[in-house]
Amino acid sequence: MSDDAIRAEAEDLLKNGLQTDVFPRADDQTQIQEIIYQLQNGDGSLKERLVVGGFTLDPVSHEGLEQACETCMYYLVHRRYCELPELDVPVEAEWSCRLWRI
């Protein structure tokens, strides 16, 4: 499937009310490891990555920082893609997830 098609599918899922684990955000190393562990040991489906990653269609403001894919270090600006190996998914600049890091 092309990036565009996967991105559209993800957007549909989120728009149609898919409940994702937006909180708690991955604030420290233990929380990061827990989420990464869940992702590594899941079925790898798009739906599961969106849920465990805590995806939203808008940036989440947390502890004074706006956490959008646009500023995340895993985001490829030109490809509009999340390169975190455990997520590995096309995204949009204004989306967000709880593994955001700058």
Binding site: Q33, L76, P85, R101
Partner: protein, 320 residues
């Protein structure tokens, strides 16, 4: 002719192996072209037993002038301050170190263990190891804060795990050829000529650092290793990307993060388990920021840089 004596304490011999790989100048050049007379070295010395003891004693008595005393490895003080856990030539190594340092014109500490205590001095430090004149960041170490060799210089520290062979030979040549006066040392007594710039200076991934494009796996041919893989290049003082390893490359050029091995905290045993090769973050922001950069500035700069990053920065580059 400058007489050089090299001993090893709590060490893995890594600095010896590194030294024997030196190219500019080589270990042989030191002898043939630069007038260094190697009195004894653990891998090269011919004397054994009483002959070696006699040689060490003749240095201490002054019968054999000792120009350069090189020490590799930590000074072991256990048990109970006796140093008996590291005996050499009939007595605790630490006693030789003290007496030889007192008579040498120059004392050179090689590698992290000799400079700061290194891996043996990690908590709980069972061997009561110290560096020659530092214990981690704390000035003093085994010889004490006031120690100065006969030349007037304190211990010259060449850290690294191991240190680069050319850092060693170039300093030895400077000392042996009477140019020690040109050496200026930083707060950790490291020669400034090597340790003023950062590992990042000259790294081929600097453009990716600037545009905030991250490598997410070892060996990738694009991306900077700071954001995800724990690279300490922006806060580590070393010339690893100016004086290349094997004259070819460096850790970061090859896609491996700098571990910060020339800094007193190495090996950073306060890192959380599993984070040696993972950038530690607090609320999504790196815990250790590049030297001199604050959190607000970092967040603003990286946001802007990311927005401006060109397409090529996201594609594979030849970075060896």
């Amino acid at each position: 002719m400058a007489n050089l004596l090299w001993l090893q304490g709590g060490a893995c011999s890594g600095n010896t192996m590194s030294f024997l790989n030196a190219e500019e100048p080589s270990a042989c050049d030191l002898v043939t072209d630069f007038g260094i007379n190697i009195l004894w070295h653990p891998s090269l010395g011919m004397e054994l037993g009483d002959n070696l003891k006699g040689l060490l004693q003749s240095c201490i008595s002054g019968a054999t002038p000792l120009d350069i005393f090189v020490f590799e490895g930590s000074v072991v003080n256990a048990p109970d301050g006796t140093g008996e856990w590291n005996r050499f030539a009939g007595r605790p190594m630490k006693d030789w170190v003290r007496e030889l340092s007192d008579v040498a014109q120059f004392v050179v500490a090689l590698g992290d263990c000799a400079t700061y205590g290194g891996i043996p001095a990690m908590a709980p430090n069972p061997s009561a190891s110290k560096g020659m004149q530092f214990l981690k960041r704390e000035h003093g170490g085994f010889l004490g804060t006031d120690f100065a060799a006969k030349s007037g210089l304190p211990v010259i520290n060449i850290p690294g795990c191991p240190c680069h062979p050319d850092w060693v030979t170039q300093i030895l040549v400077a000392v042996a050829s009477g140019r020690a006066g040109d050496l200026t040392l930083d707060e950790f007594q490291r020669p400034k000529t090597f340790f003023s710039s950062f590992t990042q200076t000259g790294c081929t991934r600097n453009m990716h650092f600037a545009y905030k494009v991250s490598a997410t796996e070892f060996g990738q041919r694009k991306g900077c290793l700071f954001y995800d893989l724990g690279c300490r290049g922006p806060m580590t003082h070393s010339p690893c990307n100016r004086i290349l390893w094997n004259r070819q490359s460096s850790k970061t050029r090859a896609g491996m993060p700098c571990l910060g091995c020339t800094e007193p905290e190495f090996p950073f045993f306060d890192l959380e388990p599993g984070t040696l090769f993972k950038t530690q973050t607090v609320m999504g922001v790196p815990k250790d920021l590049p030297t001199g950069v604050d959190k607000t500035g970092y967040v603003k700069l990286t946001g802007a840089a990311k927005a401006a990053s060109p397409q090529w920065a996201e594609e594979d580059m030849f970075v060896v």
